[in-house]
């Protein structure tokens, strides 16, 4: 079905930039109540106190009592309240109308239409012909319910989530090395580390609160090593900056390990007693001499040697990484390379000795644990493991054989849609048209769907393609839990009621299940009831939440999983000597039967699409501090829009000069998949062979028109951080 013109949809549904008016702008307004909760953006989940007046969030107070952020917030957190009472808010269900775009319909009628289309598609083409796509900004309760809904109600194997674009390389690497996928340490362990190593993490813009942890470590004398193709704000004053060529991180880690071995900067006792696989890795990194490492990474040999020495001789350390090393077709190898230098140092599982990936999405941690991933069941269980299937089937009251086998990843779902193997789609909390790579292909796939239902609070660009849009809930309209960056389960509290026909997402899902005549197992009356079932479903799994209660979260300011009983306070730091886990059962602190961590050979391969004569420049993408993910929320918040109104092409003056471009020029960037025209931002803070474009915008401003859909073979994460482009000054239509 063809779309109504975008301009009409934008007029009707936005994004419009909202500013403070009315009670939000008046002084001296007494709020009806204050609600202690958390920011809806990013994996740090900072504590925040919302001010409520007449069922509207009118502002905030810093929540200084919450230990993680102690009142600190980034600009997104400060202005997050403006997403409520927004003119673009979906207040009813909508049905697509070929002429008018969308017209409101009765909620009940919409649910009936969804149920009948699911039934029609599944009876004609099989259960797997209907897919479910979800998101890691959903609470644990909703994430759990979505996994259960897909498997039990729709009986489809095809469910996956947008964490596929975010955390999966780290998750896969962590599982291979440690047998568990969670930040190994609480952030407090950063504070007294002697060396803080930051690879591919624009902390100041993507995890702003973490900045203060890094600066506090520096106050205590820590050396800060930053590896990035751009001089980000966290890199500006670091002790050692390694300006790596995008896509070469594993080469650097191998080169560092080579020097650690050469200089015997190793913890032999730890390696011997607590790990296996060191010899194979040591053999593999022999070829990664400083010279070769320098050639591949574009970092000077001297800087590599300096980094290895600081890392090698440190008594305590914390290694942090994020999407910069993970968004690659060899993202898992990069992560394994990072973990190898941690294991070789023996600095893990102790105070001030840590390792973590910086989770990106609001519930990036919890959202990847409870079964909305195509190969996973609650408690971080494996859908292909018979024991795991049997346990979860018992909780769900079904036969283990009824649980579908593993499905395919989110991008593969689009390939299947394109090939006609998947005919129907339900999407929630996932704006694929902005966030997936090579999104011109995504658009073509969306147009092939026979039926598409989106649950959303604003009409996202992806929902423009929906046949039915159901009005769901904003974070502040529901209660539940999320699991933040440290593996700490925290409580989101309801502040306001959903407006109009909108309602909590889990109610929408249950209404669909009910209309399908499969309400059994979908009759929860509160988020708490869902959480209580999640606790049971996760019991005995690696991500064990069974001992966590809403009350314990409140009294402890969060509970780090695993938490196996009501008197268990939780586990802030993993892998402590003598610690118990269900896999090792006392054999050691790591989550393998022998209790030992694994070294894994991390092999280097260049990016899938390297530069050539035709496309000679590297494009890398990422975030800016004032926007969040696909911008569905933050492109609607006026003060955040004003802070960085449109994406720019960041490039080095040396490149700009060669291309005849000056700061502010309209510049066209083309890849083999698409092209876009944006204004140039000429700065010396980026490698001259690389350009950077932030990805939060839609349509012709979308960076993902250019990116490549190459994926890591293990994690299936797309290679957002490297593709080949050409750049020219745009001479047409310049104002």
């Amino acid at each position: 079905m063809s779309l109504a013109p975008d301009s009409g949809l934008i007029q009707q549904f936005g994004p419009h930039a909202a500013y403070s008016t009315g009670a939000r702008l008046q002084t001296g307004v007494e709020p009806d109540k204050l609600v202690d909760t958390h920011c809806c953006f990013c994996g740090q989940q900072c504590g925040i106190r919302l001010k409520i007046k007449d069922n509207e969030v009118i502002g905030f107070e810093p929540r200084e009592d919450f230990p993680f952020n102690q009142g600190m917030l980034c600009p997104k957190g400060v202005k997050r309240y403006l997403q409520g009472s927004h003119p673009d808010r979906l207040l009813s269900a909508y049905q697509r109308d070929p002429r008018e775009g969308f017209r409101p319909i009765a909620y009940d009628e919409a649910i009936s239409r969804v149920a009948s289309e699911i039934t029609r598609i599944q009876s004609a083409f099989g259960n797997d012909a209907f897919a479910v796509l979800t998101g890691a900004s959903l609470t644990n309760e909703k994430a759990y319910l979505m996994g259960k809904f897909a498997r039990v109600c729709l009986k489809t194997a095809n469910i996956d989530y947008n964490g596929r674009l975010c955390m999966v390389s780290a998750a896969a690497g962590n599982k291979k090395a440690f047998g568990i996928d969670r930040a190994a340490n609480p952030w407090s362990d950063i504070l007294k580390a002697e060396v803080v190593w930051i690879s591919g993490a624009n902390i100041a813009e993507c995890a702003p609160i973490t900045t203060n942890y890094v600066w506090q470590a520096r106050e205590q004398g820590a050396k800060i090593i930053v590896v990035d193709p751009r001089i980000t704000p966290i890199a500006r004053t670091c002790d050692l900056f390694l300006p790596i060529k995008p896509g070469r991180d594993v080469a650097l880690f191998n080169g560092i390990l080579h020097l650690m071995i050469e200089n015997d900067w190793l913890d032999h006792r730890f390696i011997d007693e607590q790990t296996i696989g060191f010899e194979g890795v040591a053999d593999h990194v022999k070829e990664w001499t400083p010279r070769r490492t320098a050639e591949v990474t574009g970092i000077t040999e001297r800087a590599i040697r300096q980094a290895a020495e600081w890392w090698g001789i440190a008594k305590s350390s914390f290694l942090l990484h994020a999407r910069g090393i993970e968004h690659h077709s060899h993202g898992v190898q990069n992560v394994l390379g990072a973990i190898n230098i941690v294991l070789a140092s023996g600095r893990i599982g102790r105070e001030n000795c840590g390792y973590a990936t910086i989770t990106g999405q609001g519930n990036g941690q919890g959202g990847r644990e409870h079964g909305q991933k195509c190969d996973q069941l609650p408690g971080a269980r494996d859908v292909s493991n018979p024991e795991h299937r049997a346990y979860v089937a018992k909780v769900w009251g079904i036969d283990p054989d009824e649980i579908p086998k593993a499905g395919v990843d989110a991008y593969e779902i689009f390939r299947k849609i394109y090939r006609g193997e998947i005919r129907g789609l339900l999407s929630i909390c996932f704006n694929q048209k902005v966030s997936l790579p090579d999104n011109n292909f995504v658009t073509r796939a969306l147009e092939k769907l026979e039926f598409f239902v989106a649950i959303d609070f604003f009409l996202s660009e992806t929902a423009h393609h929906a046949d039915i849009v159901l009005p769901g809930s904003l974070q502040e309209e529901d209660e539940g839990t999320t699991t933040q960056i440290e593996g700490r389960v925290i409580k989101i509290n309801k502040a306001v009621d959903s407006p109009g026909d909108a309602r909590e997402d889990w109610r929408v899902i249950q209404d669909i299940a009910g209309r399908l005549g499969r309400e059994h197992g979908f009759e929860f009356t509160s988020s708490r009831e869902i959480f209580d079932e999640l606790r049971v479903a996760s019991r005995g799994g690696i991500a064990d939440y069974s001992g966590i209660t809403y009350e314990k979260i409140d009294s402890q300011y969060g509970v780090c999983w695993p938490c196996r009983s009501e008197d268990d306070p939780g586990t802030p730091r993993l892998f402590e000597p003598g610690s118990w886990n269900p896999i090792a059962a006392g054999a050691g602190p790591f989550y393998f039967p022998d209790g030992k961590a694994r070294f894994n050979v991390a092999s280097y391969s260049p990016p899938t699409e390297d530069v050539d004569e035709e496309y000679p420049i590297i494009l890398t993408t990422g975030r800016v501090v004032s926007q969040y993910l696909s911008g569905t929320q933050t492109r609607r918040i006026g003060p955040l829009v004003d802070q960085y109104p449109e994406p720019r092409v960041e490039m080095h003056p040396r490149l700009a000069e060669k291309l005849g471009i000056i700061d502010g020029d309209l510049t066209t960037v083309s890849s083999r998949r698409g092209s876009l025209t944006l204004r140039a931002m000429v700065v010396t803070t980026i490698r001259p062979d690389t350009i950077f474009i932030p990805y939060h915008w839609a349509g012709r401003q979308s960076a993902n028109q250019l990116t490549i859909s190459a994926q890591d073979p293990i994690s299936k994460i797309p290679e957002y951080k490297v593709c080949a482009v050409r750049v020219r000054k745009e001479t047409m239509n310049d104002e």
Partner: protein, 210 residues
């Protein structure tokens, strides 16, 4: 209630990440909702991501008040220089031009000079100012001198600034290396000085490609 005497404001621009949380939060302050009183700018974005937040320094003898022909700018007994008083302010802009730190803002829509008052409604009630509370890098810090000395052993606050022949003493402190002997920051002299100290320089990236 006056501001507790031992509570002080400290600025450390080396920590600033330019995120604008301070400016965005400032516009949430009850006394000037919708208007930020903070200046946060990149020093030279073409060559660095360095940014510097500027709040009112709250001078002991505020130049803004001294040059005000309408006597509209008042300093409280606890040392906070306030926004101009609406009935008196004639929007002449003298204060905006005279302030050595460039702090006051002329709000032409209100015909009123407005400026940072260190969140007097909050600080006089024992709370921290909005900007220093939210600042994710704690480039803006509000607390006691003992607290900051313990948390930041390598730096210390300085609150004297020299502009030409004039030395200004302020309520707000700027952080400097603790080892330095300087009694004041010579601002006019520093304007011509090359940046020194630990900073990732621009040439690092260049040298990779030489």
């Amino acid at each position: 209630m006056p501001i507790t005497a031992n509570m002080e404001f400290f600025i450390d621009a080396t920590r600033c990440i330019g995120c604008q949380a301070c400016a965005q939060a400032c516009s949430e302050c009850d006394t000037h909702k919708g208007h930020s009183m903070i200046h946060l700018e990149y020093l030279d974005r073409a060559h660095s991501v360095q940014s510097a937040p500027v709040v009112c320094m709250h001078c002991d003898s505020p130049t803004c008040a001294e040059v005000c022909p309408a006597d509209a700018i008042k300093r409280t007994d606890d040392g906070v220089v306030q926004t101009a008083r609406k009935p008196r302010c004639i929007a002449c802009n003298n204060c905006v031009l005279a302030c050595p730190f460039g702090v006051p803002k002329m709000k032409t829509e209100f015909k009123l000079m407005m400026k940072c008052d260190m969140c007097y409604d909050r600080t006089s009630a024992g709370k921290r100012p909005m900007c220093a509370t939210v600042c994710p890098s704690q480039a803006l810090f509000y607390g006691t001198r003992e607290q900051i000395e313990e948390m930041r052993p390598r730096s210390a606050g300085i609150n004297q600034f020299k502009f030409g022949e004039q030395i200004i003493t302020t309520k707000v402190n700027m952080m400097k290396p603790r080892t330095g002997e300087a009694k004041y920051v010579d601002v006019t002299a520093a304007m011509k000085e090359q940046a020194s100290g630990k900073n990732i320089t621009l040439n690092i990236l260049d040298s990779v490609f030489e």
